[in-house]
Symmetry: C2
Subunit: 346 residues, 2 copies
Amino acid sequence: MELDDRKWTILKAIIQTYLETGEPVGSRTISKMPELNLSSATIRNEMSDLEEMGLIIQPHTSSGRIPSDKGYRLYVDRLMEEKEAEVSQMKQVMISRQDKMELLLKQIVRYLAVNTNYATMITSPQYHRTKLKFMQLSIVDEEQILATVVAEGNVVKNRIIHMEHGLNREQVLQLNILLNSRLNGLTIEQINLSTISKLKQEAGIQSDLISQVLDAVADAISQEEDVEVYTSGATNIFKYPELSADTDKASGLIHAFEEKHPLLSLMDNEGSEHAIKVSIGSELQNENMKDCSVVTASYDLGDGMYGRIGIVGPKRMDYDKVVGILKDLTGQLDEVYRNGDPDKQN
Amino acid sequence: MELDDRKWTILKAIIQTYLETGEPVGSRTISKMPELNLSSATIRNEMSDLEEMGLIIQPHTSSGRIPSDKGYRLYVDRLMEEKEAEVSQMKQVMISRQDKMELLLKQIVRYLAVNTNYATMITSPQYHRTKLKFMQLSIVDEEQILATVVAEGNVVKNRIIHMEHGLNREQVLQLNILLNSRLNGLTIEQINLSTISKLKQEAGIQSDLISQVLDAVADAISQEEDVEVYTSGATNIFKYPELSADTDKASGLIHAFEEKHPLLSLMDNEGSEHAIKVSIGSELQNENMKDCSVVTASYDLGDGMYGRIGIVGPKRMDYDKVVGILKDLTGQLDEVYRNGDPDKQN
DNA sequence: TGTTAGCACTCGGATTATTGGAGTGCTAAC
DNA sequence: GTTAGCACTCCAATAATCCGAGTGCTAACA
């Protein structure tokens, strides 16, 4: 069967009504809409067709219809197409360059939660492709050396290195020169074991001590993926009875928001070259979230720093609004962080 | 009326039974206990007395009794007395010195949540009394200077300072010497405006540029109280029907766990010189938490770094266990972080 | 052939009765 | 001071009832 124009209009009407009310939609409700002038009986016939096509579902005999995952999918896909060129008019968010990246992310995620009434999350930027900018070892006291690493985008990492027998100033100075001249400009990815072992050789006779330091530095740089996830508005799910009426469900969902890894995998954007991606219900492959939809977007702060933003809500999420807000936000980030400063900035 | 021995025994029995079951306790249940050999009728008389004294409450006519806030209070106070000398036997937690303080705190708060089945929280250590250990300015590029500050306890702070006209190496070197010689060993608190302005004078003629740097440094050091709060196990509240049966209540509670400031004020320990403090229901002065109890404890990592840990649960919390675990935990932290340093204690 | 009115039927959700049992307070006897 | 006995209360769980929104189907109509 084919989805003709009238069927599409009806499907849209059903979904939009359901988005608003959260209640199954009956034929009568649709027939009363002015834009299509049909009796409820006709609508019923069409609905029957739509159901046969798997786009809508009847929770039980003699109830109204609700969209199926497949129905949502279709709706969202078409929506995205329409949205593609559209200009949004969200009011300007207060984004300013922050020295503290963390603070900025928290602000954003909070802003989103407040403005959408859904649960939101954001990852800290990852920066594999980031280049090393500057690096410094300093003597703190006899046994401790502070290693400071600055990467593009002014991402700063510190590491205190404990040593049984400290280095003297002379040695530290040499090391600093060596490190900076050899590693500068390399991306984090490029600094791997072979680079390090080459450096060790160059360091010459003191290599015993120095290799300790280098190991620690290498460790500090390529530090285990410390992506952070910040969340906000988890309690917004209580605003949607279909998510919170059943205490167990609500509990599982909120719980899912406490765990970092499941959240990260939600925001994975593998297999999608679109910046904005919508995953619906079962597509999420997460038992706790089977009644949810997740909209994710990439943000890019320049300098190879990019991360993901996610919004979690009920399937009857206001996709239109959410996609719009995300588009605006990522656009604004772009503007602030890469505007008129084509070389680079924090 | 006086709380004689028998009344106390009965009260204890009521509270303990209620802690286990969460259901109002009837006279018959108590009378069946072997340690006191009384009929239910007698118990009823005593209960009537206890109610008159405000220690227990009858949710409605002809129901069993539950402890009142006042009752809990009495119970907890006496419990703490008994507990005072007792040795606990919790199995060793894996605590090791972490370079990343954040990670340690997250581990602890998670450990607590898992082991108590309550919601838990911990503040990052505050360190007003911490002494400055080391400090370094480095030139990153023409316009940016990196300021690194190390305090006791190896707390490291970074700050990128943007300058229109950069400093040359010579100037930076001088500044480093000046800063370290003047500020070293001072506590964060001691480095206030007057110290800074004195420094500015000493810096001499280049003071224009330099004062920019100093301002930024001062700012970085005394950075707005950036106490963090980490939480875990918020969803544990779903394990207690009296907290989660009503969706609104549960929502409010979980929501309270998303906000930093309310949590901080919960963990305030003003007015209590005890390391461990129990607040019950209305004592918390927080509408969302009126059905909860909060147990808080101080931890001390030495070097003037101390913070608070909190456990939030239903009023019928297992106070005994919670207090025990907290005692153990703070003890272990003490041991690991200040071992062989017998001068001060928590 | 597509649309519509009409009608019998279904089913979930809300509301109202019904019941059982745990618990109390009181009284009188030990 | 303690206890047995009894009448009474009230919640919570279960069952019974009702209501209405919504459907599918059929027959008539344009």
